[in-house]
């Protein structure tokens, strides 16, 4: 049962900057909000949604709308978009980084935790940092890193060997490092952190290894852990929900689960619950919102009786204390790994009475966009399915049962984007038919613990799509099919465009209102990273990584490509 805290705190910072917090990003014409500030202030981070120069957050702003407010590149001139520069990193491996840009300096990361600082106008390298990786790493799915966070004159990056690093942004020099978990037990970091009010927020991977998931807040100066929210509750049993968020029967044997619970006790210590992507920050309410991934072991529910709270859930906690505020679980006792991964987005939404209320969006692996009330996390609506759904929720068997979507989604970790003027959110999807196999095995102490196997059905066609969903109604506005399943992310701009890449190397721009394809570029390797945008000296750029993807085995590369409209 969702619990909600009516206390919507107004922080000191909220009082100071409250007037500047607008839910809707404004269009800007190459405007500089901050002159030539190189130090990233909290004010800059708060106003990032209206910042026409910088790209300061992995998902654009604290609301995570991935909407860039400049319209210099637009539906009229996007046909003239050309590469301005290409930077090649040292690492030819899966690229999932979102470039962060601060006053003409770009920070990118690669697989295996390298960071590069580049001149954002020319692509020239300023410095290069290589993390001294420990001998033990345990990670799924690829040695990825999704980027840095910036705050004042520092950068922050999580590592595959489960550390958080604080670095000097000017030099790339390491200032501090903090161990977040034991990599031998399956803890690792691939997500980009989020920094707010001096706190570095980070989750953890490890849902495939029997970890106990968490979100932590660290002091940005020292790396000291300020609070930890465990994503598996000590009482993880929940309400014994028999139906999912869309009302479908999940075929649970509740009596058998209760008997198992009495026998073994609560499984929370090895229950998984990774957090793969950034939290959204509601500065007014002083809360963060994140989604929690699958329970461990993925396919075998027999060893984890109960709803497995807070796996497969949207969760909100207090920013200052990390204390629980509310949650909503999409799939209780998941045995399909159709979990919650894509980062939540904060926007105002119509409730079922037609009133606008603060909302939260999440794109699920199920292929639905879920629309929540931000106050209590409750579900307002879910969208039409963006990908085929068949045979849900057939239980996995030893020989395998076919069910759609396959375990990669729907929407995987790929962030969605929003154009609030249109009331649309844009998701990139996979269609990958799979069979689900279960085979029970005890906790293997840090080794891969799936409780069975997922298998792609090679004879069946795979594809992807970009789907625009009206989040006020849940209706699909437009959909464009792609040759391959999509993973990576998407960006919307005030120029009336959305940008997304594909595994076959294509990077494309679409009319955000209609879905018409307006521009394309062949990058030579999979474009499976979230695009970003920024401006230098009045010139707008679109930038994206083309390094392929490990999870779907798309062609690897090592290119960061910045595009602009030539004079």
């Amino acid at each position: 049962m969702p619990v909600f805290d009516k206390k919507r705190l107004c922080l000191a910072v909220g009082l100071v900057f409250g007037a500047a917090f607008t839910a809707h990003a404004q269009e800007v014409e190459n405007a500089s909000n901050f002159g030539d500030m190189n130090t990233v202030s909290q004010d800059m981070l708060n106003r990032a949604g209206n910042d026409g120069n910088n790209f300061l957050h992995t998902n654009g702003n604290y609301e995570q709308t991935r909407y860039y407010p400049s319209k210099q590149i637009n539906t009229q001139n996007v046909k003239d978009l050309r590469p301005a520069w290409i930077f090649q990193t040292e690492i030819v491996e899966s690229l999932e980084t979102t470039p962060i840009v601060v006053n003409g300096i770009m920070y990118i990361t690669t697989s295996f935790n390298h960071i590069y600082a580049l001149n954002a106008a020319t692509g020239e390298q300023i410095w290069h940092f290589k993390h001294k990786m420990g001998p033990i790493t345990t990670y799924c799915c690829g040695p990825n890193n999704r980027g840095v966070a910036v705050y004042e004159d520092m950068l922050f990056m999580g590592t595959l060997d489960a550390k958080m690093l604080g670095l000097d942004a000017k030099t790339g020099k390491l200032i501090w490092e903090t161990e977040l978990g034991d990599p031998e037990l399956g803890y690792s970091e691939t997500m980009a952190p989020t920094v707010v009010n001096g706190k570095v927020l980070i989750g953890t991977n490890g849902g495939e290894y029997g970890i106990r998931g968490f979100v932590k807040a660290l002091d940005y100066k020292s790396g000291e852990v300020l609070w930890t929210f465990h994503t598996t509750a000590e009482d993880s049993t929940g309400v014994w929900a028999t139906h999912d968020a869309t009302g479908r029967d999940m075929l649970r044997d509740i009596d058998a689960e209760k008997a198992k619970l009495a026998e073994m006790g609560d499984p929370y210590k090895t229950l998984g619950g990774g957090v793969w992507q950034n939290p959204a920050v509601d500065l007014d309410a002083n809360r963060i919102y994140f989604v929690v991934g699958n329970p461990s072991p993925d396919l075998d529910g027999s060893l984890r009786p109960g709803d497995n709270l807070y796996t497969n859930s949207l969760v909100s906690v207090d920013l200052d204390s990390g204390e629980y505020v509310c949650h909503y679980q999409y799939i209780a006792h998941d045995v399909w790994d159709l979990d919650a991964v894509s980062p939540p987005i904060l926007v105002d939404v119509k409730n079922n009475d037609g009133d606008m209320v603060p909302g939260v969006l999440h794109g699920g692996k199920t292929g639905h966009v879920y629309v929540h009330n931000r106050d209590d996390c409750s579900l307002i609506r879910f969208s039409e399915a963006m990908v085929p759904q068949e045979n849900m929720w057939v239980l996995p068997t030893k020989d395998g049962e076919r069910m759609l979507p396959g375990a990669n989604g729907g929407v995987e970790w790929s962030p969605m984007t929003v154009d609030e003027k249109l009331g649309l959110t844009y998701a990139i999807n996979l269609h990958q038919p799979m069979t689900y196999h279960v085979e029970s095995s005890p906790y293997p102490e840090g080794k891969l613990w799936l409780g069975g196997a997922f298998k792609v059905i090679p004879e069946e066609q795979q594809w992807g799509n970009i789907t625009a969903v009206d989040y006020h109604t849940g209706k699909i506005r437009w959909k464009v099919k792609t040759q391959q399943p999509m993973i990576g992310g998407i960006l919307a701009t005030a120029g009336g465009l959305v940008f997304a890449g594909e595994g076959n190397g294509m990077f494309k721009a679409y009319d955000s209102e209609t879905g018409s394809q307006l521009w394309r570029f062949q990058a030579g390797a999979g474009v499976n990273a979230p695009p970003a945008s920024y401006s230098v000296d009045g010139q707008q750029y679109i930038v994206v990584g083309a390094g392929g993807n490990t999870q779907l085995n798309y062609k690897r590369g090592n290119n960061i490509i910045a595009f602009t409209v030539s004079d």
Binding site: V92, E93, S94, P135, I136, T137, T138, C140, C141, G142, P143, K398, D399, G400, T435, H437, E439, S441, P444, K447, L448, W449, L450, G451, G452, A453, F454, K455, V456, I457, P458, T550, Q551, L552, N553, R556
Partner: protein, 196 residues
């Protein structure tokens, strides 16, 4: 059984005739242990004596260490290796793993059935093997598979499938879902892979 007898003989012979590489870590002297390892897995050239013996030279440190621990604990059953590891301390296991992982990978010329290998890519895709193994070059606890000995790799896949090798349950489930032809196809594909 035949293989076991042969390897035992080779091991004994090695004790007499082989000289070890210049190895002892700062804290642990592994010269004596290494003599036995080298009798099957090869000396400084890292070339295994038999095709059903895996290449260790250039393999991942943490993977090797975990395998040694698992042999000793009985999680990975093998009559030779269980005996070899029975008296090893953790420090000795780490030193042996460090020794082999610090070597260059041994390149071999496996006899690949190209027709089978051509089918291997599709089977590996079905198993989503790249999710952990990426380009099959290995990293930390994930072993390098590219260019590994073909008979060894096929046997270890079958051991997973037939629940002889129990130290990675997820692999057991996955291999169980493949036909023997699929396993052969994957082994041929992977053994034929070299540097990316």
């Amino acid at each position: 059984m035949i293989s076991f007898v042969r390897l035992q003989f080779v091991g004994l012979a090695a004790c007499i005739f082989f000289s070890t590489a210049s190895i002892s870590s700062d804290a642990v002297d592994i010269k004596d242990k290494l003599v036995l390892c080298e009798s099957c897995h090869g000396g400084e050239d890292g070339m295994p004596v038999n095709a059903d013996t895996p290449i260790l030279a250039g393999q991942e440190y943490y993977y090797l260490y975990v395998q040694l621990k698992d042999y000793k604990a009985g999680r990975r059953a093998n009559p030779i290796m269980s005996g070899m590891t029975a008296a090893l301390s953790k420090d000795e296991m780490k030193a042996l793993a460090e020794y082999y992982s610090s070597m260059e990978w041994t390149k071999i010329q496996p006899e690949i059935d190209q027709e089978l290998a051509d089918k291997g890519g599709s089977a590996l895709g079905a198993g989503q093997c790249s999710q952990c193994h990426s380009k099959y070059q290995g990293d930390s606890r994930v072993p390098r598979l590219a260019g590994q000995q073909l008979p060894y790799m096929l046997q270890t896949m079958k051991d997973f499938k037939n629940k002889v090798r129990l130290n990675s349950p997820a692999k057991g489930s996955l291999m169980d879902s493949f036909s023997d032809e699929d396993l052969a196809a994957m082994a041929n594909y992977l053994s034929g892979l070299q540097q990316p």
